[in-house]
């Protein structure tokens, strides 16, 4: 169930709007997660790109593929891309990375 106040939701909403944040995002992940006040459970799911867990915690489903792109890049996001494969492993196959 979507929880608008979950720190991860606020973080995704704002990061996409701010090139200073989304550029090179994986390298800033720890700092940004701390600045938004993510729980340890959220942080661990982000580190693993465990979108299934993030959905369980209340992240809006629409944000989940965007999270995989923040972490693995957006270019040529076809089904064989790193981002799409990360999504498949976590959400479809349930094998969190």
């Amino acid at each position: 169930m979507f929880k608008p106040d979950l720190p991860s939701n606020r973080m995704v909403f704002e990061v996409r709007r701010d090139p200073a944040l989304f550029t090179g995002f994986p390298g800033k992940l720890e700092r940004v997660m701390t600045s938004y006040g993510l729980s340890e459970e959220e942080k661990e799911a982000w580190r693993k790109v465990d979108v299934r867990k993030l959905r369980e915690l209340g992240v809006h489903p629409y944000f989940l593929p965007q999270i995989t792109r923040l972490m693995h890049g957006s270019r040529k996001n076809d089904s064989s891309s790193t981002a799409a494969q990360a999504y498949r492993r976590s959400m479809v196959e349930g094998d969190s990375q």
Partner: protein, 280 residues
């Protein structure tokens, strides 16, 4: 009174510009041919103004208690927002807005009871960047974007979306300048499920049912049968973008839609299609 010279609806799947070459050749050809036909239809109508309605994708509207619609009132628009450049592979573009027309629309819609906001700062993603590339590749027609809440419950019900379309139609006909030629288009759908287990699936049976339903022109039946629940059953969090198509139905002069193309593309992760409504 202004004239409605085109009413259309089509998918805005990001793969169409972002990774089309990964799809089978016959899908690529059918998708490009379909969008080309939509573009030809639009340009043949020689509009002075484009008005579009599409999912905001949780990009601009607040996460808490969003309005159903948000009309863009800026003098000037640009897209795609930087975060989406790599994803969409669309060159940055700019096009004019029409604040006067936007405010006229907002006034009428508010008076008609539509839950509405206005903004002169809207980020564009695939919602406009994919269709505009085909509809108006020179970006030379002024544009009024209407962003819509299609995925943050509670969503506007189909009847409310249709009513919003009727209000837009009323505003175009009554409040926009004499002789202005207005084209209206909705973008979004068809079946897709960003954020769910069916992310890599398309529900062709649902898509074809929906297109056939629109082709009946039977508004009462369309609104009764194309429920939010049925859309969700064909792909959660994405298929409800078809609510925007029901706004276009309200705007349309003749309610019988003509399907232009449909491609159930798994590689695009979306049922991709478009319709046009007759103007008389």
């Amino acid at each position: 009174m202004a004239e409605i010279v085109a009413t259309m609806a089509m998918a805005h799947a990001p793969g169409v510009t972002g990774w089309l070459t990964s799809a089978p050749q016959e899908e690529q050809d059918a998708i490009l041919a379909g969008y080309r036909r939509m573009g030809e239809h639009l340009r043949a109508s020689a509009p002075d103004l484009l008005i579009g309605v599409a999912n905001d994708h949780l990009l601009n509207l607040p996460l808490h208690d969003p309005p159903d619609f948000c009309i863009g009132t800026a003098q000037h628009w640009r897209g795609p927002a930087e975060f989406f450049l790599d994803w969409l592979q669309v060159e940055p573009y700019e096009l004019a807005g029409n604040p006067t027309a936007a405010r006229a629309l907002a006034g009428t819609l508010t008076a008609e009871g539509v839950r509405l906001a206005t903004s002169d700062e809207l980020l564009f993603d695939d919602n406009w960047s994919v269709p505009l590339r085909f509809l108006t590749p020179d970006y030379d027609v002024p544009f009024v974007p209407i962003h819509m809440n299609c995925i943050n419950p509670p969503l506007p019900e189909p009847a409310s979306c249709y009513a919003a379309g009727l209000a837009i139609r009323k505003a175009i006909l009554n409040d926009l300048p004499e002789s202005m030629r207005v084209a209206f288009f909705a973008t979004g759908g068809l079946s897709h499920e960003p954020g769910g287990k069916r992310y890599f699936q398309v529900e062709e049976k649902f898509d074809r049912w929906f297109l056939d339903l629109l082709a009946t022109g039977d508004v009462e039946r369309i609104l009764a049968e194309s429920t939010i629940e049925k859309m969700e059953s064909a792909g959660g969090g994405g298929t409800t973008e078809l609510l925007a198509w029901l706004v276009a139905l309200g705007v349309a002069t003749n309610k019988v839609a003509n399907p232009v193309f449909y491609v159930p593309s798994v590689e695009m992760r979306c049922g991709i299609g478009g319709v046009v409504w007759k103007t008389a």
